[in-house]
């Protein structure tokens, strides 16, 4: 559950209760051989379907399996876009306020097409393949997110249709 920068690996995945180190991830991913570094930052929004005035989210994580699944997402991305060099996927746990980053994906590749495509695949697949649940607190109460998906392996996720 650490978010410490990996010293040698080209993958960096973690679930952490700390603020996600977006700038550090970008620096880590940037390579002389890569002309494209795509960053996706998913941030806590002030509304959800039928829920105005969202003030916070709480993420519950199946800790023993979440990192294993994040690794599987990265492997699936690499098998589709072998040119990709570095991939970081970090997800928050615990309570987050509006505006905080809940998930950050950074992909570095020689060219932008595969960097964009792989980053899109990673975030789409995280949403369907990693055992994490979001509870929303809004003006009218508190309940689990209605934007949920039956959990599927990364190779069978919606994101897998990206290519």
């Amino acid at each position: 559950m650490t978010s410490t920068t990996p010293l040698e690996a080209d993958d960096w995945v973690a679930v952490t209760g700390d603020t996600l180190p977006v700038a550090e991830m970008l620096t880590w991913a940037t390579r002389p051989s890569c002309g494209a570094v795509v960053t996706f930052s998913g941030t806590v929004r002030d509304h959800a379907p039928g829920r105005d005035g969202v003030v916070s989210l709480e993420y519950e994580v199946f800790e023993e399996q979440a990192v294993t699944q994040l690794d599987a997402v990265v492997r699936a991305a690499r098998s589709r876009w072998p040119q990709v060099e570095r991939i970081a996927v970090l997800h928050r746990s615990g309570v987050l306020s509006v505006g905080e980053a809940s998930v950050v994906v950074v992909v570095a590749a020689p060219h932008r097409a595969e960097a964009f495509d792989a980053a899109r695949f990673c975030i789409d697949t995280v949403k369907t393949s990693v055992p994490i649940w979001k509870k929303e607190t809004w003006a009218g109460g508190s309940d689990w997110s209605e934007c949920s998906h039956e959990i599927v392996p990364p190779d069978r996720s919606v994101g897998a249709d990206a290519r």
Binding site: Q65, S102, V103, P131, W133, W144, E150, I151
Partner: protein, 80 residues
């Protein structure tokens, strides 16, 4: 009778009033049936929407389980 551990998450944990525990049974189906008795109607209502993993691998009702196994109940996920 083995007594595997059942682990409940998110809406399933909340519906059951706790994160799970030891529940007797030698198949996933038997463990879930016993859990329904132990944890009540809230869990019963949500179970049909859940996927079941045993020790991190997708399982079905006929999957055999033993004492050291973990049966995880995963409602639809909403990370990101």
């Amino acid at each position: 009778m083995s007594v595997p551990r059942i682990a409940l998450f998110g809406p399933a944990r909340e519906a059951a009033g706790g994160p799970g525990g030891r529940v007797g049974g030698t198949t996933v189906g038997a463990v879930l049936a016993e859990a329904a008795t132990m944890f009540g109607d809230g869990l019963v209502r949500i179970l049909p929407t859940c996927r079941i993993w045993v020790n991190g691998e997708p399982a079905d009702l006929s999957t055999p389980v033993a004492e050291e196994d973990e049966v995880a109940v995963l409602p639809p996920v909403s990370g990101g």
